[in-house]
């Protein structure tokens, strides 16, 4: 049987930060994010930008460098401030889903 998508989850404690839980709908054939939910007890200012990050990560390749540069560019463009979370930790959480 051909598996076209998978629902994956990771739990990752950000070093010196909070607990990140990522839920990932993943297309293993193309190695792409179909849908992502970024959850946890961290703080993000403004809060609504997490939904924006989730939206903009759809269709993105699950690759450490690609994800990091994409997330960093959104953070810079939107002036997002993370507390208890960072771009590197978020990428780690996503990569753990597919590890």
């Amino acid at each position: 049987m051909l598996v076209l998508d998978m629902r994956l989850k990771s739990v990752y404690k950000i070093p010196n930060g909070k607990l990140l839980k990522v839920f990932l709908d993943y297309d293993p054939e193309k190695n792409l994010i179909k849908k992502i939910s970024i959850t946890g007890d961290f703080f993000v200012y403004p809060e609504e930008t997490v939904e924006l990050i989730e939206k903009e990560l759809r269709g993105i390749r699950v690759d450490k460098d690609v994800l990091l540069s994409k997330i960093k560019s959104i953070i810079e463009r939107e002036g997002i401030e993370f507390i208890g979370l960072d771009a590197e930790g978020l990428v780690e959480g996503i990569m753990l889903c597919v590890a």
Binding site: K18, S37, T39, D41, F43, V44, P46, E47, V50, I83
Partner: protein, 254 residues
């Protein structure tokens, strides 16, 4: 003469009312309708609040909450899940531009927690701010805090534990696995404390509230003048309660 801020005391509200009032006050402040406001409140029935970014079903055992009559609500602030039972909850709403509020978010957490620490001093308790968002007594957490900034206005709310029932708390919250439940509960019991535990005796809500009110007045060099919610705030809070905090869509959005 010191600046006058509004002080609200609203005990025994539901989780949905409490979260709606905080948001309505934030909105009123952002529209320049009210002075900076400090509110003390309690929760009836007791309730779990989860952070804005948390997954409800991941954190909360909804069936047990329903069985025990415990409400649950998603906050507009980030941070973690909290069981609100024997505690004083505060909120402060103030324009971002107010000279008493540091522009830097972490520094402003520290500043507002400073009010609680001054309040604790009046109860002869030595509290210490522990970044990001906790206050510790003897190395144990007695207060958790969460802040949002919207429309150039700061809302920070937080808890001060009067007493704590870690076993009950963990019956309502999900744990990663049943195997580690006992270990987790004993760890948290070591890491959390309460005013009752520190003082070794029961102390009334009113006495704690009096001390905290003085703490806010001292930290910000203001006079807190007892007031009430405006008509606009009441109307907005009813609307927020219905459209957001008591709705399935809001609470289950993650």
């Amino acid at each position: 003469m010191s600046e006058k801020w509004r002080f609200l005391l609203t005990p025994d509200r539901t989780a949905f009312e409490n979260m709606a009032i905080d948001w309505a006050v934030l909105k009123a402040s952002s529209e320049g309708l009210i002075p900076p406001t400090v509110r003390f409140y309690t929760w009836k029935p007791s309730a779990i609040s989860i952070g804005y970014f948390q997954s409800l079903e991941e954190e909360v055992d909804i069936d047990i909450c329903k069985k025990l009559g415990v409400d649950y609500v998603r906050r507009i602030t980030g941070g973690g899940a909290v069981y609100h039972e024997h505690e004083l909850t505060y909120s402060i709403v103030i324009p971002e531009s107010h000279p008493m509020i540091p522009g830097n978010i972490l520094k402003s957490y520290g500043r507002i927690c400073g009010a609680l620490i001054k309040g604790l001093k009046h109860l002869e308790i030595h509290g210490k701010y522990a970044p990001i968002n906790d206050i510790l007594v003897n190395g144990r957490k007695i207060s958790g805090n969460a802040q949002t900034r919207k429309s150039r206005t700061v809302l920070q709310h937080g808890t001060l534990l009067l007493d704590v029932d870690v076993d009950k708390m963990f019956s309502l919250l999900k744990v990663p696995s049943e195997k580690i439940r006992d270990k987790l509960i004993s760890d948290v019991k070591q890491r959390v404390t309460s005013i009752k535990h520190v003082l070794g005796e029961n102390i009334s809500f009113d006495e704690v509230a009096g001390a905290m009110r003085t703490g806010f007045e001292e930290e910000f060099n203001v006079e807190l003048v007892e007031g009430c919610l405006t008509e606009t705030e009441l109307m907005d809070s009813k609307r927020f309660e219905k459209d957001y905090f008591s709705s399935y869509e809001w609470n289950h959005r993650k």
